[in-house]
């Protein structure tokens, strides 16, 4: 019936980007605007013994310089508070996080002072003139080593550097299952640190209005309302209704722009203090040492299984690196977004998982695309491959033996979650066909006979997306509910403004949400504008992360459209002198007519106008046409995927050639296939980046060795084949669109699939495991070592 839903409508937001008219924060110019730069620690751990700002202050063009102490003590009754952690797991240790360091610096990049100047160039010059004396302290960078008695304490208040310990499941039952199993495979491995690298570096600008005592903050955020809440309640102490946060066009986020950052506190503070608007734009080098990073787990896993390939139990301990301070949602990632996913798509009967979150002298770690779920998938799929290899069984056959069956949904896992719907057998059938799996295996056999290192990798993954039912989220540690809002404002002429609490930073909501509303009313998509990213325009919002926008933000709009249709039916019934029950809303045509009397008809625009003229409305009805919904889902959605990668490794260099890649995903119903495919493709390439190249490497002193795009290996166009993408659609039963999350599935599966392919290629050499990234150097060394009689 629908005209737009399910079709690849070209994106309505694109022309401004294509013309170079994107409204990114860095492009903002305000009258009389000054520019800020932040002096940052070159050391990972040190006591600040003195800061002398006098030479910087004397530089022509410098307006002011402030230190951490200035922010803490404040000026004119205006001071800065500690950055809060918005996810409270039991017994969480949350040390203070001052926007600028006061007594001690705890990671390279920790802010020490801020300069406000007439130009960005002068501000940068002035940084060189701030004299900071640091007394170096020993550093710790490894999540597990942080807990040793020999490690220095990042925070005096956190014994053994532990922030939290989070166990889930029946450990005794798992241990018993493992001891009763025919086989147990064990592995210790690292899920390496990643750096998000959204192409737009973070930026923040602030303007204080002394007459209204109000603040406007422009910031590169995925969730401006959350930033406003935290500013109002914790960091600035300005009442929330006196703060407007605008996140206009944002150039990618991937999680790294969810969090409340120090600059969102520092810049408003200095703007108010100097009485001028102030803008700060991160350099890329600054992004590397200040944006929250991803992953960084050390894990020990044990998987039990029987001779017939049935999985019997899983035991996992993970040490998760939190970095120097707890970022906004940091404790969530290795707990409720990780351990609860340990069942994957399989019927492992008993599972125990635990995570230690530890402080180190590194940049904070928080959500990065997938956030916990790629780590879970990589763990499960790596263990499953090991098990299949131990039985000399095809890894797909092994997986099929353990799959949750299509008639078993809703499926209660042993790790808290209830999967809503799925059809994993169909997913497997389709990926085997799309990838020509049998032919790949034959090709591999032939290649191996020639001594070539060809590998086929398989990954089948689950995601809990669309966080979250508010009661469940708060029960797991969220400080606020995770619903979403959507309002529809119909103007007198029948044009429509949609106000969504979701935030688009590449996802294309201006198109997909307009598709939802256009079909909701039967109007043209050109007659709809979607507004997001402004707390003064949008009622309230939770924002975009966790693949939640279609399932929550989209569903809120479906509900608001329903409410408006009901009101329009009442107006039409009144004016056509018929009963409301007889009214038929034709969502193809945008008309309401009396059943059986097609001539008695009103258009959407006529009724919208009637609601404003308001002289002929049903008795007691309020004029106007605007509805809002706060949509709180009853469950997560559970997209699933099966991906196949084929690689060939050059035995002389260790270089991995990714030769083919096929992906079948089930993200439920699809609003815009072109956009969904784009999300999957982008996600896959990011996931391959983790498998093969990307690594945020710290040396023992806490220096980030891969701290620029020169040394951090970003995926490039020339490293990829054309990827084959297809899907099945198992609608989610509990949201009105039947959609599941699409934004992260590609990343979640691709890392596991490509790692699986590389290890498969190396298996004949007796190499059982290599930690990612699977770089040429690492593989070359492993091949050399294997030639000398052993694996790594």
């Amino acid at each position: 019936m629908s005209r737009y839903m399910g079709t690849s409508v070209k994106r309505v937001e694109d022309p401004r980007f294509l013309r170079g008219q994107g409204k990114y924060v860095a492009n903002l110019t305000l009258p009389n605007m000054a520019h800020a730069a932040v002096k940052r620690s070159p050391l990972a751990h040190a006591t600040i013994t003195s800061i002398d700002t006098s030479r910087a202050e004397a530089l022509e063009g410098v307006i002011a310089v402030y230190t951490g102490k200035d922010l803490l003590e404040g000026t004119g009754g205006f001071k800065c508070g500690s950055l809060p952690c918005g996810w409270q797991v039991p017994d969480l240790n949350t040390p203070p996080h001052n926007p600028l360091a006061v007594d001690k610096v705890r990671h390279v990049g920790d802010g020490i002072a801020v300069v406000v100047a007439e130009s960005p160039y002068i501000a940068e010059d002035a940084l060189e003139l701030i004299d900071v004396e640091l007394d170096p302290l020993p550093a710790v960078v490894d999540a597990r080593a942080a807990m040793s008695d020999e490690s220095p304490l990042v925070h005096e208040s956190a014994e053994k550097n532990v922030s939290f310990h989070w166990p889930l499941g029946d450990e005794d039952a798992v241990n018993e299952a493992l001891s009763n199993s025919d086989h147990v495979v064990e592995l210790e491995f690292v899920n390496q640190r990643l750096i998000a690298n959204a192409m737009e570096p973070r930026a923040t600008a602030a303007e204080w209005d002394p007459a209204m005592e109000s603040l406007t903050l422009w910031t590169t955020s995925q969730n401006p309302h959350t930033i406003r809440l935290l500013l109002g309640a914790f960091t600035l102490g300005i009442p929330e209704h006196k703060i407007r946060v605008i996140s206009p066009d944002v150039g990618g986020g991937f999680g790294s722009k969810i969090f409340h950052y120090p600059e969102e506190v520092i810049i408003p503070f200095v703007a108010r203090a100097v009485g001028r608007p102030v803008k700060w734009v991160a350099s890329r080098s600054e992004s590397y040492i200040t944006d929250a990073q991803g992953r960084d787990h050390v894990t020990k896993a044990k998987l039990g299984f029987n001779e017939d390939g049935t999985m019997t139990g899983l035991h996992v301990t993970t040490w998760a690196n939190m970095g120097a301070y707890l970022s906004t949602f940091a404790p969530l990632i290795p707990t409720a977004l990780y351990i609860t996913l340990f069942a994957g798509v399989y019927k492992t009967p008993v599972i125990f998982g635990e995570a230690y979150g530890t402080f180190t002298n590194t940049v904070s770690v928080d959500a990065y695309r997938g956030a916990g779920r790629p780590e879970a998938s990589y763990m499960i799929e790596t263990m499953v491959d090991l098990a299949a290899r131990k039985l000399d069984m095809d890894p797909v056959e092994f997986r099929r033996k353990n799959l949750i069956q299509a008639d078993e949904f809703p499926y209660q896992t042993p790790v808290a979650l209830v999967y809503d719907s799925g059809n994993y057998q169909a997913l497997f059938d389709k990926i085997e066909e799309l990838s020509d799996y049998d032919a790949l295996r034959k090709e591999q056999e032939a290649a191996r006979a020639e001594g070539r290192l060809v590998g086929v990798g398989f990954a089948s993954c689950i995601e809990a997306s669309g966080p979250a039912p508010s009661a469940a989220a708060v029960g797991l540690g969220a400080a606020i509910g995770l619903f979403e809002s959507g309002a529809i404002r119909v103007h007198p002429t029948g044009k429509v403004t949609v106000l969504t609490g979701s935030h688009s930073h590449g996802q294309g909501h201006e198109t997909t949400f307009a598709q939802i509303v256009a079909d909701g009313f039967g109007i043209d998509i050109e007659d709809i504008d979607v507004v997001h990213g402004d707390t003064d325009r949008v009622q309230y919002g939770v924002g975009t992360y966790g693949s939640r926008s279609a399932a929550l933000g989209g569903s809120a709009l479906v509900k608001s459209a329903e409410k408006i249709r009901e009101k329009l039916k009442k107006i039409a019934a009144h004016q056509l002198e018929a009963s409301v029950e007889d009214m038929v809303y034709d969502q193809d045509e945008g008309t309401i007519s009396v059943a059986g009397s097609p001539d008695a008809v009103k258009t959407f625009a006529e009724l919208a106008f009637a609601s404003i003229v308001a002289d002929n409305l049903p008795e007691g009805m309020e004029p106007g046409l605007e509805e809002m919904t706060f949509y709180d889902p009853s469950n997560f959605t559970f997209p699933a995927s099966a991906h196949v990668a084929k690689v060939e490794i050059d035995p002389k260099t260790g270089e991995v050639d990714l030769q083919s890649y096929a992906a079948v995903d089930d993200v439920g119903n699809v609003i815009n296939p072109m956009i969904v495919e784009g999300q999957i493709l982008g996600g896959i390439v990011q996931g391959v980046g983790q498998a093969l190249w990307e690594h945020g490497i710290y040396d023992e002193e806490g220096q980030l060795l891969s701290g620029s795009m020169l040394s951090y290996a970003m995926p490039r166009a020339d490293r990829f084949p054309s990827i084959a993408v297809d899907r099945i659609e198992t609608p989610s039963p509990h949201n009105p669109l039947g959609v599941k999350g699409a934004g992260e599935m590609g990343t979640i599966a691709a890392t596991a699939a490509v790692s699986s392919a590389v290890l498969d290629a190396l298996a004949p050499l007796g190499i059982t495991h290599l930690n990612m990234p699977l770089t040429a150097e690492k593989i070359h060394r492993a091949i050399a070592a294997a030639g000398n009689g052993g694996g790594e």
Binding site: G20, M199, E200, G252, F254, R716, I723
Partner: protein
């Protein structure tokens, strides 16, 4: 130092410090903010503009080095408000998501396609290895550039 150049068909002159980057000059002095800055090590290509016959990363060129040259930025690519065939192709093929790398990606692609109406996947992927995109996974960019090159027909 005094610099003069042609930017998007218009002559401009300014007194700039010798250290000012071309990208800062077009963004800050001329208000042409379509050109993005994505890194500070000349890797990402977000700041690509045309300088005479070349596509250059404008973070690697000093404004004074551009003295006397003919510069085109993304804002100068349209003709009478009409999208350039390469811009149109990026739209048609969903070759962009967040849009931040897009101006540089398009400017690099236009030069890549100049004189090469029949680009192969491999030529496009190799030609764009100096332009990073974190959103799209490149596949739809490759599709767009091939289509854009075809409709440019080897012209600029």
């Amino acid at each position: 130092m005094e610099v003069s150049m042609t930017v998007n068909g218009k002559g401009v002159s300014a007194d700039v410090e010798p250290r000012v980057l071309l990208v800062d000059f077009v963004r800050n002095n001329l208000g042409l903010t379509g050109t993005s800055i994505g890194c500070d090590t000349s890797q990402c290509g977000a700041c690509t503009v045309h300088m005479d016959a070349m596509a250059v990363k404008s973070c690697t060129v000093l404004a004074v080095q551009a003295d006397g040259s003919d510069i085109t930025t993304i804002e100068g690519l349209t003709t009478n408000g009409q999208l350039h065939p390469m811009q149109q192709a990026f739209w048609d093929a969903h070759g962009l998501q967040c849009g931040f790398c897009t101006p540089g990606m398009i400017m690099a692609s236009v030069k890549l396609a100049h004189g090469h109406p029949n680009l192969t996947d491999e030529e496009v992927r190799h030609g764009l290895e100096g332009n990073f995109c974190r959103c799209t996974g490149y596949q739809n960019i490759v599709k767009a550039v091939k289509a854009g090159a075809a409709s440019m027909g080897g012209q600029s």
